[in-house]
Symmetry: C2
Subunit: 162 residues, 2 copies
């Protein structure tokens, strides 16, 4: 990874594209008061250097799960330490493959964090009962229902499944 | 919100655009083996109905925070119940405005979930000490450092700040 220097123009281009990646060179040129050739060159460089990794879409309300819960699982430490890592990997993969599981991460050596989204509360509760609380050898489960997103609300439309 | 019916073609278009929103009508037409006019019409409809909410960019490695932690704050219940909601709102807004705070949500009545990202571990620890553990009236703080993202890794490049 090469050291990267972004000037104000680069950052402004990135900010605008984050809000709307369909803006044309000419629209960016107008908003940022720079020649189109400059904008074109900068975007090309940002893409080539991988500062812009890729372009994507955010899905709308109809496809966003309405009920989210963050789940923190703590796995009991087995006698044979080596088992723990493999067991955590196994649970993570299994969870990742389930519909409605939007995000899975490992925390420390013995915890798994998962974000689950379903269209209604009953479905969410049922999913947790069937797929989470039934996992063997859990030491502790914490379920944090998400009542309101205060920052990063776009996240749901970004992670939503089609 | 109107009930929505997406057929296989719609879903395939959405899946491809999620991976690369810069695909042209003609590339989509080729991959999905449908006429360009059909693809064009479907995308237009998906946008009009808000199934595609907007287009955005995912930022690359250089701008992704390298160290993430999920933080769960539990606020002590004050004597006057009304205070709790306002206090939670206040903490949420304050946190949301801080650099490196990528996501903030309310959980239940008395908890706040925040995802914080910094470029190195020391910065992350310092940030938590200065901005989180110093918040008054906290009943409980849990910090879950994210060791490895197993699903939804793109999240960091999506939430990263410019």
């Amino acid at each position: 990874m090469s050291e990267i220097h972004l000037d104000d123009l680069d950052r402004n281009i990135l900010r605008l594209l984050k809000k709307d990646a369909r803006l044309t060179i000419s629209e960016l040129s107008e908003q940022l008061k720079k020649p189109e050739s400059t904008i074109h060159f900068r975007i090309k460089k940002l893409q080539e250097r991988g500062v812009i990794e890729r372009y994507t879409i955010i899905l709308g309300e109809q496809l966003k799960p309405k009920h989210l819960a963050l789940i923190v699982l703590e796995v009991g430490k087995p006698v044979i330490e080596d088992f723990l890592e493999r067991y955590i990997s196994y649970i993570s993969s299994t969870l990742s493959a389930l519909p409605g599981v939007l995000f899975v991460a490992k925390s420390g050596e013995d915890k798994i964090i998962a974000l689950v989204g379903k269209n209604n509360k009953d479905e969410l509760v049922k999913f947790i009962e069937e797929n989470i609380t039934s996992i063997p050898n859990l030491k502790h489960i914490q379920i944090f229902p998400i009542t309101e997103i205060k920052k990063g609300e776009d996240l749901t439309g970004f992670l939503a499944e089609v």
